[in-house]
């Protein structure tokens, strides 16, 4: 298969680059080893669109975070993504931490986060009455926001697809193909060769390994796990925005936030590990989250928890993003080591790197504007948020919107069918695209129903449906089959 550009990884970075490149008449292939999007760090993170005060002026992070933030405030309408423009607070508990707030304030101003200011603890409690009485001051960043990251990644890649990019799931990059050691020719994958003169490494926590295939070992990825606890949506309103602790060396500290959907959430821990795929939660980690959450919000009701999860972020040993168009091999582009504020920065990273590619790779691919580029993309209708008149109209037009599949999140059959039409093949993919299964019963009710709809719409047997691709089948066969096997072996003779 021949393309102009291959993007390895379809997290928010890969997806944003795909969309940015689809503004040109290019044949774009996006490869991801997962069965659904998002799957890596873009799935399990704080869903924060940062204000931009956190990064050292002059760093790539500082340079791209504020423009990324601004882009998201515009993209939310273009891509029809839920963005709660709630602002954020960094909370200080003592004088030393107030000093830190002052540093952040200075940094933020330098980085172009203009609305930030330091307020007193009492002022904070006027807006957020449930925060700790021991908080003495807070840094308020009004441009910070919380995004629905499941929606955002799917929206971004869908927009790229609308404009011609092709997405290949369950396609794992195994190695790079070279004409000689100096020129990139494509990518060898678990599904065979993909050829292109330009390959972009947006491999997230694997980006260090992929970069080393190209011989660039200028940075090292330190996989850093973050654990989270998510609470039932009935906790909505306990706090209204995003609360940071003062950061330490390990990370930005435990935060408490209200997700774009109204759940309370807390995390992340920051533990470095060898294995980029190890997303196990630990009792120590969860205890740390609970402790951190209660420090900020003493009433944080852990007994309302509906799930715990962990994500692995691509920390670098340099402390900054590793974004560059490599000289050798020609055609290889690193967009690596993207961690916080990676989600925020992604649209700005995409613009930045595409600009750099136009300067340096125009001999390999032609950047001819795609005059048919459509910026808008509409989400699958979300029954939960529609007015009663809109619901009636939708149900009249398509009766499957009058059938609830997920009762916790009020997701209709129509939404599930539409997600499948847009490419969902697994229970988790449907979950990411419709939120079926994200509520308080965590799929107990809807999982069998979603499985039935997948089976029916895709015309595959129910016991072939997987949770998240690979060997994650939900069911192991039909009833009576084991019994028949046992009888055949003679085990049932005494029954």
């Amino acid at each position: 298969m021949n393309y102009d550009v291959i993007i390895i990884g379809s997290g928010i970075v890969g997806a944003s680059i795909a969309r940015e490149l689809s503004k040109y008449k290019l044949r774009i292939a996006v490869l991801d080893k997962a069965s659904e999007l998002p799957s890596g760090a873009s799935r399990a993170n704080s869903s924060m669109i940062h204000g931009g005060f956190d990064d050292k002026p002059g760093s790539m992070k500082a340079r791209l975070c504020v423009p990324g933030n601004k882009k998201w405030h515009k993209l939310k309408d273009e891509l029809d993504v839920h963005l709660d423009e709630c602002g954020s607070y960094v909370c200080a508990f003592n004088d030393e931490e107030i000093k830190h707030l002052e540093l952040l304030l200075k940094q933020g101003k330098a980085n172009g986060d203009p609305g930030i200011e330091i307020i007193t603890g009492d002022e904070l409690r006027k807006h957020e009455p449930n925060v700790s009485p021991e908080i003495v001051a807070a840094l308020w960043s009004p441009d910070a926001a919380i995004i629905n990251n499941f929606e955002a990644v799917n929206a971004m890649i869908e927009s790229a697809k609308i404009n011609g990019a092709e997405l290949f799931l369950e396609t794992e990059a195994i190695s790079l193909l070279f004409d000689d050691r100096k020129n990139i020719r494509g990518v060898m994958t678990s599904k065979g060769e993909f050829k292109a003169p330009v390959v972009i490494n947006a491999g997230g926590v694997h980006s260090g390994e992929i970069s080393s295939w190209a011989g660039d070992k200028s940075f090292r990825i330190i996989p850093t796990k973050g654990e989270y606890i998510l609470l039932d949506r009935s906790t909505k309103g306990l706090i209204h925005s995003f609360l940071f602790s003062c950061p330490s060396k390990a990370g930005k500290g435990i935060t408490v936030l209200q997700t774009s959907e109204g759940n309370m959430m807390s995390g992340p821990t920051a533990s470095e590990q060898e294995d980029p795929e190890d997303k196990t939660t630990t009792s120590e980690g969860l205890a740390e989250v609970i402790k951190g959450a209660r420090r900020l919000v003493p009433k944080f009701p852990v007994n309302m928890s509906i799930t715990t999860f962990a994500g692995v972020r691509a920390n670098t040993d340099t402390g900054d993003f590793a974004i560059s168009v490599l000289r050798t091999p020609r055609g290889f582009v690193n967009v690596a080591g993207i961690k916080s504020p990676g989600f925020t920065s992604a649209p700005a990273i995409a613009e930045y790197i595409v600009e750099a590619m136009r300067e340096e790779l125009s001999d390999r691919i032609k950047f001819e504007p795609n005059d048919k580029f459509i910026p808008e993309r509409r989400n699958i209708p979300r029954f939960l948020y529609l007015s009663m008149d809109e619901r009636k109209k939708l149900a009249k037009e398509n009766s499957s919107y009058a059938q609830i599949v997920c009762r916790c999140e009020t997701v209709t059959e129509g939404q599930v069918v539409e997600a499948i039409r847009r490419g969902a093949r697994t229970i988790t993919a449907v979950k990411m695209m419709t939120r079926a299964g994200t509520g308080r019963c965590q799929g107990g009710f809807c999982c069998p129903r979603v499985a039935e709809i997948l089976s029916r719409e895709l015309n595959i047997p129910l016991d072939e449906i997987t949770r998240h691709g690979g060997k994650s089948k939900l069911l192991v066969g039909k009833t009576k089959e084991f019994l028949l096997e046992k009888y055949a072996k003679g085990a049932g003779q005494n029954v």
């Binding site: 998510l230 609830i404 949770r467 089959e481 019994l483």
Partner: protein, 419 residues
Amino acid sequence: MSDSKKIDVLIIGAGPAGVAAGIGARKEGAERVVVLERDWDLGGILQQCIHPGFGLRTFKEELTGPEYMHRFIQQAYDAGVEFHTNTMVFQIDQDTNSVWTMNKERGIECLNPGAIVLTMGCRERPLGAIHIPGTRPAGIYTAGTARRFVNMEGYMPGKRAVILGSDNIGLIMARRMIWEGAEVEGVYEVRSWPGGLRQNIAQCLDDYGIPFHLKTTVTKIHGKDRLEGVTVAEVDDSMIPIKGTERFVECDTLLLAIGLIPENELSRMAGVEIHKVTGGPVVNDLLQTSNPAIFAAGNVVIVYDIVDNVSDEGLIAGVNAARYAMGKISADIKRIPVIGGENVQLFSPQYVTGETDTTIFMRVTHPIESACRVFAEPGIYSQRLRYARPGEMNEVKIKAEQIKALGELKEIMIDIQPL
């Protein structure tokens, strides 16, 4: 449904409580009684309960779940109850008691009944509620989800199961998996007493040689795509895992039977007061909620052990909803609060009106394995028991005339204490 005559009593959920409520409402004289069911068939969770053991008290014979329901459904049809399946209530407006429904054929409709009965039942606690560290592979189901796959769809969730928690559904599913040729490595219960009924432990575990481990829990989940095993460990008296007792158990399925939660999303929307401990609506002995036009019965109020109790309560709620719709329940009836004593975990109803004879259902906090007494003060009820266990409900019976005879009564205190 909405364009015809006014609905007197609207019942949400056609499980055992809802069907009985329909019968009760019609028998009491309500003209139009409608039961809405979101599933394609009537019967609620009993559709899945294909094992015997139902109706011993009501019908004096042992029936399967579907058989038990069939008898009630037949009675309901005979009584003139109107059923609508594939119809989901997704909203109740607090100020008007308007009920919003959806159905593929009829679309979205708004109903304004004379009275509402909430009979939505309960749901299972998910894994996320208990924070088990580890991975999140396929193969972890609540026991009820697994039962739906096996009994309704005809598919097996796995070949070798571990069951966490010992609620009745978990015990029943342990046996069910064995019947289908799967293995069940064991049932693990974090508490020092079983969650389910003694008879289910005997009939579902002991009879099949399935090991039952008390004070033991799952401490880690292993496997990336499909479950590969769990770590189990014994716990101390504060339910903290004891170091050194960890053991890896190979399995491809983990079934959760860690508790049921009354399902009250709609009740909350309707502005009905929810009890902090039961998780269900606060009700009086007419099964009337804090919203006088809304009644509630069955597992939506408090999770019962046996279906006969659910049917009984459904009937009472239906009768009283009909009476309310016909203007027969006055607004200023008595509300004597019931207070739970030291060893009472939860109970319902929470108020006694003295309008009717009533049964208060309760569970103890800690088991008493010797002779004990269940009682209601002042001097209303006293009954000797051989034992009292959290997994088995106890009852306090109160007669209307007793309440009348006691005159001004501030509260009724119930408890179970050793003799």
